[in-house]
């Protein structure tokens, strides 16, 4: 009998705890993003992977590690050998950094592989285009 009555009050207490949680939730700011209307103020999360970008292409040493790390062969790097006039050593120089957004699965392996942090993911997410070929982007400008 004592257990029965105790059980009732314990049950009521736990139910009230649950109701307190949802009551707080009722008045918190809602997380829904009303997308097309709030384009101007929309802020994506920092860790959101939109597309691969190369902010500073002088950092890229054309080592090809990102190309090798990519499981989908999304990245294609074209290089040319150049000779340093002072030391006379030959090294590779980046000619073309092709990135196919259409086959990227946003796994971050290329970003992790890059020894000089030359590439990163931006939070840009409006990617819609009319043909597949437009999804292939050239990341270096020169």
């Amino acid at each position: 009998m004592v257990g029965y009555i105790k059980g009732i009050f314990r049950g009521l207490g736990s139910l009230l705890t649950g109701m307190k949680v949802t009551f707080k939730e009722f008045f918190t700011r809602k997380i829904t993003e009303q997308y097309p209307e709030n384009r101007a103020v929309l802020k994506m999360h920092d860790r959101f992977c939109g597309e691969l970008v190369m902010p500073d292409e002088s950092k890229c040493i054309a080592c090809g590690l990102c190309q090798m790390a990519c499981p989908n062969s999304t990245i294609k790097i074209t290089t040319e050998p150049v000779t340093d006039p002072e030391t006379g050593k030959t090294r590779k120089r980046l000619v073309k950094y092709e990135y196919d957004l259409g086959s990227c699965m946003f796994c971050h392996l290329c970003v992790n592989a890059c020894p000089h942090d030359a590439i990163r993911f931006s939070t840009e997410f409006e990617h819609a285009v009319f043909t597949r070929s437009k999804l292939v982007k050239i990341l270096n400008k020169q």
């Binding site: 109701m19 949802t22 939730e25 009722f26 809602k30 829904t32």
Partner: protein
């Protein structure tokens, strides 16, 4: 408090002066029937909109926002969509019962809806055993649900209907006991009279401890009675697709859906009527200025405010707690609510006999 009885009596005398008494009464019945159904539909639409918005708020969402300002036309559009959809006939079903079931549910719901006193003089069905009639009328809905499950010739429907039957018949008892507790306090079963007795204080204040216990039991049992909230296992989506109305489509499904929401409103408005004073304003003895201000607010606004407040409470409960298992539901009813309800009834009798209430 404005008495709408003056208006209705005036209409009656005007009608009776141009036609015979019986024809006037017939015409009034038709008008009231149409008004009742209109109010029924409007309440259903408001309830569905409120459900979607309140549910969204509890889940940290916004709910419908696109159709009309704040999504207000969304539900009306949904109603028209539902009306235009095809009613599919199931091949191996019991055709007659299958088509009859939603109407039984809706008739029970409308009849119970007619018992509610909205404002002073705005009672439709109001006689000396109104509470009893209300209980009887609202229980007819179970037959409709059982018929729907049986005639659909589907396992899911039948299991849903059987669960619903077991649950609703059990919880009827607790609803009855908690209403009886208040009937003991008021010594009347007429809804309008119950409201009138609360002029100097709502029953939840006048009956103090037993009334509060009865109120809580009524809310739990009422929630189970309309198959909602943590007691929605007759239509448990994850197990039974949709329970007893799995095989229904178009407006037949719509009738079940509408009846479910209006039943929730009926349960809430009866709770508001017998515990929170119905259309009676909040009066605090001694504060005459305050009472005069409260009297200035029309009765139907008081009624709807209280009813929708309780609807909100029940939605809060629904969107907080997980669904119970069938044995847990029956344990809650037979081992907790019924014994507590009986003891509470006895407590109320003691309170009334020794005049311990206010």
């Amino acid at each position: 408090m404005f008495d709408f009885g003056i208006v209705t009596n005036w209409i009656h005398t005007q009608l009776a002066s141009v036609m015979s008494e019986s024809l006037a009464i017939f015409l009034e019945c038709v008008i009231i029937g149409v008004c009742l159904l209109l109010l029924y539909v409007v309440i259903a639409i408001i309830m569905i909109y409120m459900e979607r918005k309140v549910c969204a708020a509890f889940q940290c969402r916004l709910g419908p926002t696109r159709v009309g300002p704040w999504g207000s036309i969304q539900v009306i559009c949904d109603v028209f969509k539902m009306l235009t959809k095809e009613i599919i006939t199931i091949r191996h079903s019991d055709r007659f019962l299958y088509n009859l079931a939603p109407y039984i549910v809706i008739i029970a719901s409308v009849t119970a809806f007619a018992c509610i006193p909205v404002s002073r003089g705005l009672e439709i069905l109001d006689f000396n055993v109104g509470v009893l009639f209300f209980m009887a009328a609202s229980s007819i809905g179970i037959i409709g649900i059982l018929l729907a499950g049986w005639s659909s010739n589907s396992k899911f429907s039948l299991i849903g209907a059987m669960r619903s039957g077991a649950q609703m018949i059990s919880y009827e008892l607790s609803v009855g006991l908690s209403i009886l507790t208040i009937v003991v306090l008021t010594d009347t079963m007429q809804f309008s009279e119950i409201v009138m007795r609360q002029a100097d204080g709502w029953f939840i204040f006048k009956g103090h401890i037993p009334a509060v216990i009865a109120f809580i039991i009524y809310l739990i049992a009422g929630n189970a009675e309309v198959n909602r909230g943590p007691f929605d296992l007759p239509e448990a989506e994850s197990e039974l697709t949709a329970g007893y109305h799995t095989e229904y489509s178009g407006m037949h499904f719509g009738l079940f859906y509408v009846a479910e929401f209006v039943n929730l409103f009926i349960i809430s408005s009866v709770a508001a009527t017998i515990f929170l004073g119905g259309w009676m304003p909040l009066h605090i003895p001694g504060l005459d200025g305050f009472n005069a201000v409260m009297d200035a607010i029309p009765g139907f606004i008081w009624f709807f405010a209280k009813a929708f407040f309780i609807v909100w409470l029940l939605m809060w409960i629904k969107w907080t707690f997980p669904r119970l298992r069938i044995d847990q539901i029956l344990t809650l009813e037979w081992k907790y609510l019924v014994p507590i309800g009986l003891v509470n009834l006895l407590l109320m009798v003691i309170v009334v006999v020794f005049k311990l209430h206010f």
